[in-house]
Structure formats: C-alpha cells, structure tokens
C-alpha cells in the first residue's frame, strides 16, 4: 500500500531559510503509525529529514507534531485513519514554538514556563520516617494528571498562546495542578496566588483545543478550571478573572439570565475609568452591528427555577469536595 505524506520542511542553514512542503510517497503496512511512515522515509528516502522520536509507544513525549493540522503524537496516530478521504497526510512541526529544523520544535519556552510554576513537591515540617500517608483515591486522581508526558501537543494548539505568548499555557498549568492537588504539598496558597496573576489561570478562554490535542487524556483545561475553583475558595478573588466569574454567577442566579452591562461593571468596578473606557470600542462596534445588549432586560418569569438549579449544583460540589 502506498501512502502520500506532505511534510513541512525547514532548513535553517539554507541560503534563504524558509519553510516549504515536500511530498513523499512511501510503501506502508496497514498497522503503520504516522511515525512508522516518517521513520521509513528517513531511512529509505531522505536521511536529511529531522524529527524527534524514541519510545514509539506514546510515553517519551518526543514526537508531538501537527498531523492534518492538529497536534498529536505521531507514534500514537494510525496512518490509515489520517489518510482516509484525503489526497495526502500533512505533517508539520508543533505550533506556538519556534522551529529549529523540519519537524523539530524549540521547546525552550515550554520548559521555562514549566519551571515558572516551581514544579516540585513542597511539603512543610519534618519528614516522616516512612512514607507520607495520603488517601488512595486522592493519589489515584493525581495519576491522571501526572500521566502528562510533556510532549507539548496542548501548547502547540492553544489558541491563547497564539495571541499572547506570555500565557503560562496548558502544560505548565496542568503541572501546577498536580502539586496543588497533592495532599503532601503545603504550598497551595503561594501557588494559587501566583497562578491568579496575569498570564495564569484566568487567561484561558476555555476553547477546549488542549483537551482535544492531549494524547494522554490529561484534559489540561479542566485542570485549569479546577485551579480557578481552588483559587477562589482560597480567597484569591481580587482579580478580573474571579470577579468576572463571581459576577457572572451572581447575575445569572439572581435574574435567570446574563446582563452583559452589569457583568462588565461588576467585573471591572464602576469607578475603574480606564477599564470602562477600554471597553468603549467594543461597545461601539456592538452598537453599530445592532448587537448591543439592552440596558434593561425583560425579567424572566421562572427565575426561581434557575436559583434552585444553582442550589443543587452547589450542594453537589460540596459533596464532591468532601
């Protein structure tokens, strides 16, 4: 069986270093992963093709790249599935990171962000003789986050990072959650405070791309949301993100619907003139397109039902936390 792969190449040493597409035709077996095909190309067709790979079983985190436009591990992706209904399978380096050569991304920024969350256990007090005692289910829960192999697929496809390279990003934040969620770690308050600053947990727009991209089921976005809850519970509410969340909740609970104007005022504060002026262009554009929300909303007849829903959710959450 022949497969066609279109690979994005980049040679930094070329006279004019520019990315270009190169097409390879290669004989493959039905069970081949995209990585198998790339290795075969490298071994039989073109030794100059550079990529990282090692374990071939989705554990070392080397081979994250974009396949048909989405980040994933090449060693975990069946070639036949990617080829279905397409003239060629496209392969590009991971996004949101500079490319060193061909499919090799520069992970330096990735690691400096991981480093920024102080990713090591910070217990307090004297060490016990034996192991720390910790509830089995809490530890089992953490295994699901710890399973992150630091491949960078989530970072590659993060839509916030595309616009704001300073955002800590899904991988570093999931790593932070791994410590906040660890009963042995005693630095929760400091961690949550730091994470509540700019570029931290409140900058995620919940686009869900990282959840889709993650080859290990870590669901980074869900971890970021859990961090938000914890940060607010711990009292770190003096920031736009948590005020926005609180206001959102309060308004909807109160009247059964969202009131965008009140939301803005509550989030930024009525007296926060610069922020209000900053919002003015958005308001104007909305007005011109006829999308300005009304100043007075019609009351919703059955708003109490919404309030009841809120109560239920709150109780369920309390139970969960216990």
């Amino acid at each position: 069986m022949e497969a066609i792969l279109k690979v994005k190449r980049f040679n930094p040493e070329a006279a004019k270093p520019e990315p270009y597409w190169q097409e390879y035709r290669v004989e493959v077996e039905p069970h081949f992963t995209v990585l198998d095909a790339l290795i075969k190309i490298r071994e039989e067709k073109d030794e100059t093709l550079s990529l990282r790979c090692s374990c071939r079983s989705a554990i070392c985190g080397s081979c994250a790249m974009r396949i048909n436009g989405h980040a994933t591990l090449a060693c975990k992706t069946k070639l036949s599935e990617m080829a279905r209904g397409r003239p060629a399978v496209t392969v590009e380096p991971a996004g949101n990171m500079p490319t060193i050569k061909d499919l090799v991304a520069d992970m330096t920024p990735f690691w400096s962000k991981v480093m920024a969350v102080e990713p090591w256990l910070q217990p307090r007090g004297p060490e016990p003789q034996g192991e720390y005692l910790a509830p089995a289910d809490a530890m089992q829960h953490l295994v699901g986050v710890m399973a992150c192999i630091m491949c960078g697929a989530c970072v590659s496809d993060c839509t916030v990072l595309e616009i704001d390279p300073n955002f800590l990003g899904p991988a570093a934040l999931a790593k932070a959650y791994r410590f906040v969620g660890d009963p042995r770690d005693q630095a929760d308050a400091e961690r949550l405070q730091a994470l509540s600053r700019y570029s931290g947990i409140w900058d995620c727009t919940r686009c869900n791309e990282c959840v889709q991209a993650c080859p290990k089921g870590i669901a980074p976005m869900d971890r970021i949301m859990a961090l938000r809850d914890r940060a607010m519970d711990a009292g770190f509410r003096n920031n736009t993100g948590s005020r926005h969340t609180e206001a959102f909740e309060e308004i909807v609970e109160h009247s059964g619907r969202l009131d965008e104007l009140r939301l803005a005022i509550k989030t930024f504060g009525m007296m926060n003139v610069p922020a209000m002026l900053g919002l003015a262009p958005v308001g104007l554009r909305a007005l011109m397109r006829g999308k300005m929300p009304p100043i007075f909303h019609k009351p919703i007849p059955n708003a109490q039902a919404v309030q009841k829903l809120f109560k239920k959710v709150e109780e369920a959450q309390k139970g969960d936390r216990k």
């Binding site: 060193i100 990713p119 090591w120 910790a134 089995a136 399973a147």
Partner: protein
C-alpha cells in the same frame, strides 16, 4: 571548555540520581543527555520497582535470595545484598520527593507481585512507574539548579594517563563540539537494546556509554546475558508489561491451554522471565503458537481493573494492534528487552578495580543499565532494574563527588580533543555515497543478533553472526551520511550510534560463544545444562591493541550456595 567536578553522562534514572547525589555532596555537577532528560528510556518502565520493607513483614534477605536465584547464581551476592538492603530507603526518598506511588486503603504504599518473587514487594504507579519516577527526579533536578545540558550528544571520552578527564560532546541544535573537563565522570547511558531488531527498547538505546568505555579499554562483563521479555508485540517489539501477568493475566497456546501450568506448576505465568520466554518459544517452535506468537489473555480481569491498573497496555493494544484487551486476547512473543551485562564496576560504581584485578580506568564510574555490578547475573528480575539505577546511581554519585573533593583539576588539551572528535565526524560526512546506508547496516545487525543470539543459541549460528558483525564493521567504515548540515543533524547521530552498536554487538557475541553452558538468559541447545564446575564465573571482555581479549572473574558468594532453579 566547560568545567566541573563531576560529569554525569546520561539523564535517565541512574544519571539523574547520580547527579543529585553528587550535588548534595557539594560537587559542581554537569549532566549531559542526548535527549531531554524526561525523554530518557527510564520512562518506559511500566511495572514497578522492588523493595522489601521490613515494617511490613518482608525481609531484604528474602528479596536478595529471589534475586540470586533469578540471576541463576551468576549475580555477585555482596552487590545484591547492598542493593536489596538499601532499597527501602530509596523508595521512601522518592516518595518524599513526590512520586505518586499507588496506595492501599490506609494510605500506605501499595505493592504488587512480580515475576520470580515470592512476595508482593513491587511498588508501582499504575503502569507508568518509570515515567512517574523519572519526572519527579527531573523536578528535583530543576529545583537543585544542577547544570543540565539537554540534547547534547557525547562523541568521545577524554582518557589520558589511565584516567578519565571528561568528554567531548556535540550540542545537537547547533552542531558545535565542546570539551567538558571533569575530575570524575559517571557514565549512565542506559542499555543497548537497538543492537537487536526488534527490541522493546527505545530508539535511543544504542549502547553509547558501553562502547565508549570498551573502546577506552574498560572491561565489560556478562555481555552474553541478554534478557528476552516474555510479552512483546510481534512487529514493533513494543512491550506489554509484566504487570499484566502480575495482575493475573494468563498465557495461552493456540488450543487455549494455559501452558505455564505444565512448565512451572508453582509460579506459573510469574516464573522468571528467562523461563517463561523459553516456554513460549518452545510452544511456538513445536507448532502450538498462533502466527509466531502465543496469546496473553486479560479478559477475566475485567474492564475496571484493566482501565485502572493497566491503562497503557489498554492503549497500546488499541493503538498499535487494534485489539481491545478487555475483549480479546493479544498475541505476544518473547522479545529482546534488557542487557544484564555492561561496564564492570564495584558497588560504588568504580569502573576500575582498586585491587587491580580487572583493570579499567581511574576516575570513571558507571551506573544503571550500562553498568554491571553484577546484581542481575544471568537474568534480571522484573522491577529490579529501576532499583539498580537508583541505588547504584546514588552510590556512584556519592563516590564520584567524594573522590573529586581531594583532586586538583585535571589537565586536558582542549584543542587536541576537539580536533580528534571533529575529524571523526568529518570522515562520516565526507564519504561518497555507495548505495549502502546506516539504516541497512543497523537492520542487518539487529536481525542477525535476534536470529542467532535469541532465546535459544548454538555455536554454529553464533559464529555466523560473529562473521556478520565483522563484515558489517567493514561496511560501516565506508558508509556515508547524507545530511551534510550542522544543525540538528539526526542522520549524523545515527551514524555515530551505529558505530557504538557494532562495538557492543561484538562483545555480546564473543561472550556468548565463550560460555559453553546454559545459565539464565543464555540458553545453548548445544550445552543445555548449567555447569557450575566450569562456568560459575563471569566473562569479561576488554579491548587491546591486538583486538578483544577475554578474561574471567569469580562469582562472589556470601550465603547462598547454588541450587537447581525450580519455579
């Protein structure tokens, strides 16, 4: 030129543990790794790590005995005692650093039973124990501030006047060479799995450190002892963890018989790896296999257990073979997995012998899979290798930093060493294409090694592979690397690695032909019995100007006299 007290080459578990120990001991440490540390092969360890904790009624002596027996009495018992008696302390250390070991109901660390052992003493994290420990070790390394050169490839050891004084390494990204000068050097470069094709090992396991030491004249020991793991996938050789059998998986032949009941009535599927691999191969050879494999059946464990405790295996089954292991048995067969032999060291990782019995090079230490202390002898027990990496990683880091304390900086001629390494690389790049390739030579090497140095061996086949390796070495002298660039030139790296692999292969073959008996993983059809009278000794290979030379070392026996091995 970069400078340090202790240079650690390799950033798997053994390397990082050594770097942390040396750093704690006050040394200036540089750690070099050809891949980012968390990409090291240690992350592939799925099953767990052994330790007998006395406070739960286990005894390290029991663990030591199981290890001695597992080694088929080729392991040095003094070294095994050190490893097993220090195991508990290492597990607790790692737990304190943050490893999320699985727990029991009371919140204590939980254990599972691994092959060849009579008690549940394998600590684990689902089926990703290696990854869990490796990432935590890297966390501690980030915290420590140890200088870590990531994606730097070591091309040469600097050896002068019988001393190791550092290395030459290439920053892969830029392709530039650098001399790193050190007072002491710890090699922790891992195994040589890729010398065999297929293998469970990652593509980076090319025996670099073993070959570098060998070429410097350091003796390698037990190189003929190569472990074949009972459960690997057919094409790729990818591993299905022993945890699958530890959780209760069955091995079936084509008639659906649990054949291990017949061969090892008491330990069944959990007999030692060498034993299970031979039973499987016998079933296959005698026509009771399925397409060159036997079947691993996990269905009776139930979906919940599988998805909670064998997540990776579930995924590997689904992604690499298209089999849902909760519904179907999965075909598996024995596959190359682990190199018991390696750079001969003492229990402090010294690659030279203070008594001058086995030679070696001063200031050079080794730990982990590239070293041979020897705690695994003829056959390694599952989950003893991670233990080996952390115990002897720490000990060699401590010893190397201790030694460095009393030393003045060594003398190294930067210019001379850079030039000799540059010349080596240039020659690989400058050759004319001749139709041959690095990949072809590697393939021919690996398949020949599996064919004649596999689960069953005999003289004739091994001699054929010996001749093959010699021929491949000649081809290697002429092969050209096609990528002529400097930056991230992976083709060049594969080219250098192939040279390392050929050197390693030579020593495996020589040791295997020499050992005229069957012991542990080394099973000869022409000498099917263990022969304690003649062969209860280690075989060492070292290079001389006249070519490789073999010598012997007695096995250290402290308290366990050899017995017949029954499971």
């Amino acid at each position: 030129m970069l400078e340090c007290d202790v240079l650690v080459i390799g950033a798997g578990l053994a390397g990082m543990r050594a770097a942390l120990a040396a750093h704690t001991n006050g040394a200036k440490v540089i750690m070099v790794s050809k891949v980012h540390p968390v990409r090291s092969h240690s992350n592939a360890a799925q099953g767990g790590i052994n330790a007998a904790l006395t406070d739960r009624g286990d005894s390290w002596e029991d663990h030591a005995f199981d290890t001695v027996k597992g080694s088929d009495y080729l392991g040095d018992q003094d070294a095994i005692e050190v490893m097993c008696s220090e195991a508990g302390r290492e597990i607790i250390q790692m737990e304190h650093w943050g490893v999320i070991f699985s727990r029991d109901e009371e919140g204590h660390l939980g254990t599972r039973t691994f092959g060849g052992q009579r008690r549940a003493r394998t600590f684990f994290v689902a089926d990703m124990t290696g990854q869990a420990i490796l990432h935590v070790m890297y966390e501690q390394l980030m915290k420590s501030g140890v200088q870590s050169l990531e994606e730097w490839f070591v091309t040469d050891l600097i050896v002068a006047d019988g001393e190791c004084r550092g290395c030459v390494a290439m920053e892969i990204r830029s392709g530039t060479l650098q001399v790193i000068r050190a007072k002491t050097v710890v090699l922790a470069t891992g195994g040589l799995g890729r010398v065999f094709e297929p293998s469970t090992n990652a593509l980076i396991c090319t025996g670099d450190g073993i070959a570098l030491a060998y070429k410097a004249g350091v003796p390698l020991m037990d190189m003929e002892m190569v472990q074949f793991h009972p459960t690997t996938l057919k094409g790729s050789g990818v591993l299905i963890t022993e945890g699958a059998r530890a959780e209760g998986g069955y091995l079936l032949n084509k008639d659906g018989d649990r054949f291990m009941l017949k061969y090892a009535p008491s330990m069944k599927e959990l007999a030692s790896r060498d034993v299970v691999s031979r039973c499987e191969q016998t079933e296959i050879n005698e026509g009771r296999g399925v397409d060159g494999c036997v079947l691993l059946d996990l269905r009776h464990l139930g979906e919940k257990t599988i998805k909670e405790r064998l997540i990776q295996i579930y995924e590997i089954g689904r992604d690499l073979t298209g089999i849902d292991i909760t519904k179907e048995p999965i075909p598996i067969r024995p596959g190359m997995h682990y190199q018991m032999g390696g750079i001969k060291t003492d229990v402090d990782g010294r690659a030279w012998d203070v008594k001058g019995q086995w030679g070696g090079i001063r200031n050079l230490f080794a730990a982990g899979e590239c070293a041979c202390v020897s705690v695994h002898g003829g056959n390694r027990l599952g989950a003893n290798s991670l233990l080996d990496t952390v115990v002897f990683g720490r000990r060699s880091g401590e010893a190397a930093s201790q030694m460095a304390k009393d030393m003045k900086p060594t003398e190294v001629s930067e210019e001379k060493w850079l030039k000799s390494s540059e010349d080596k690389l240039r020659s690989l790049l400058a050759r004319e294409a001749n139709g041959d390739s690095v990949a072809k030579i590697r393939w021919d090497l690996g398949t020949s090694m599996v064919e004649h140095l596999g689960v069953f061996r005999e003289e004739e086949g091994m001699l054929a592979t010996k001749a093959k390796v010699e021929d491949l070495k000649r081809r290697y002298e002429k092969v050209a690397v096609q990528d002529k660039g400097k930056m991230f030139n992976t083709a060049l790296i594969f080219g250098i690695e192939l040279g390392y692999m050929l050197d390693c292969a030579e020593t495996v073959v020589l040791g295997a032909i020499e050992r005229k008996e069957s012991r542990g993983a080394h099973h000869r059809l022409d000498y099917p019995q263990r022969d304690d009278g003649n062969w209860m000794k280690h075989i060492l290979v070292h290079e001389t100007p006249e070519g490789p030379r073999l010598s012997y070392q007695p096995v250290t026996v402290t308290r366990w006299q050899p017995q017949e091995r029954k499971y």
